[in-house]
Amino acid sequence: MNDPINVLTLFLFNIVLVNIPLLYGTVGEIVVEKSGSLDLGVEGTMAIGAIFGYLAGCVANSLAVGLLVSFLAAGLCGLLFAVLTVSLQANQNVTGLTITTFGLGLYFFVGKGLGERWPAMTGAGSLVKGFSALEIPGLSKLPVIGKALFSHNLLVYLGIVIAVLVWWYLNFTKTGLRLRAVGENPGAADSVGVNTLMYKYIHLIGGSGIMGLGGFYMALYMSGSFEGSNCWINGYGWIAIALVIFANWNPVLAILGTLVFGFFNTLQIYAGSLAGAFPGSLGWLNTVPAQLYKALPFLITAIVLIASSIRRREGSGQPAALGLNYFREER
């Protein structure tokens, strides 16, 4: 039971399994922020994507439907943000926070409201199947990392694929170049004929959609059981905002960041078992408070924020026009 290799393997396995939704949230928010919008509504957006995706997936008994609906529902949140901040020039911070409270409110409303009629995930075979572990032929047989890295469910790999695709999109396509220009200097983009409005809208919707997929993942991870007091998302939306900074607005670094944060996140649960399995080297793990692990993502990000504001910003991926509403005014 306390077999060290087993414990280690499970630990590594869970780092990935539990924390992949962070990757979705982070990549989605990177897309949004690269277009110049600071969307604080990630938590609410993910919740909306989660619950509607889950319900649709159960009703249609299809993983694909679940993914699609979660993308669209979350995308609607992005659309709302876009209408309010891009067209109607509302304050981005207030709008984002409101989307979070509203989104969570809607989440609980729907969940509580369904009450007895809440569909159990066991009834939706294809969802269960979709979330079950895939054994990648050959690789999954490797010791330790075989289970840890190559025996995950489809959505884990989808998340990584999306992260890489977004990275490629941002850095190697012309549309991605234009998007980055919109986030850095909307005036410059405008002057060469880039439709800044359209870019902001589309990427707010798309980025939010990606966040929604992460929410859907969490729904499945929680086996679709609805708790009245705690949302599935459980603060991951806020961590994602931190991760964007930590990953320097780079989706591939976000994968790394997810693993790092995941490491500390999972460590607090596994500290006991690891200390037990490796008493000599890891015994001290028991002494570190669990809350420090939980606080670590935010502490590190705070330090990164402060440090990068002291240095010059050339190395930073932070879009220069982040959080500023763009208004092309006539004389």
């Binding site: 604080l40 207030v94 709008t95 409101t98 409110g105 409303f109 409201g113 806020w238 809350q291 504001s309």
Partner: protein, 372 residues
Amino acid sequence: MKNRQPLFHVVKRDHAGPGRQAAAYVAAVVLALLVGAVLLMVQGVEPVTFYKQLLTMGIPGSRYPWRSVENFIKLFVPLLITSMALALAFKMRFWNIGGEGQFIMGAFWAGFAAMKLGGTLPQPLMVVVMALCGALGGGLYGVFVAALKVKWGTNETLLTLMLNYVALYFLQYFAETKTDWNFFLDPDSARPKFAKFPANAQMITIPIGPFNLNLSLVIAAVLCVLLYIYLNYTKRGYEIAVVGDSPNTARYAGMKVGKIVIRTIFLSAALIGLAGAFQVSSAGILSTSVTNDVGWTGVVVAWLAKLNMVGIVVASLLITVLQFGCQTASTTYPSIDANFANLLQGVILFIVLAADFFTRFRLARTRKEAAK
């Protein structure tokens, strides 16, 4: 050649008539109630009775009406103070999203004082000490972000956001670590549980007949008045107004903008810490959910009230009615979550944000240019 110019284009408005703004608010509330009504009906709940329950907050016909009022006040006071404090910061265009963290730190240090000194000091003095500890705790937690922003331009939105979670986990540590030195915890309980504060470390209540008036309400009211006077009549308030309006003008007038920002944010964070101290002394015990999301709701209230002190009193009253009302109404209707208030709140704010556009800007018809 096709004329691709849009039919209308957006032009900034000179000023917004108050009538127009008031109309927007009324419309927002009405629309929110309508949307809410639709949602209620979907759940099979009759909207009118629900809303009646909500607005009366279950007080008439209740067995302990005064208790309800007292609980209402316990919800209202922290929100009122926090909203005022956030408005203070927002006036300087300093986006203090760290209300939650500053509140927690205030609560924590007040609790610290309570547990350490609770047995030894008389109640009135104890309450003052807790208030001071809370204010200082919250204030320091916020002011250093202001210093960083002034010195290096650090993004205060993101930094205060991160600090919220650091504070939360800091508090959780004391909530969950059962050791000998952790005097916060109840020694009698096997599982970690916060201990109740000693009797004289609790907020003073003034009995008026069957009703216990929580002193913090009185203090909050006084603070309201003081803050109103501070902002509108004192020199410091004048400085805040000028800096918030146009920092260049402030500099031209010889004002030290950095100092003013730091001083004001300290005040803002200290007030929030104070609110935390009030919350915790009224409850008589620490808790990891001590904030009750007031840091977020405060932002909504401050924005709805357009950072205006009088507006904040009204808006926080309205939102508390909404929240408290939903809480009580949802006990009768188990299918409606207490968070229903957040839904209504959200809709109200969305509509106000949208309507705001039409008070700040207007659509002007693009005049057809005659090409001769």
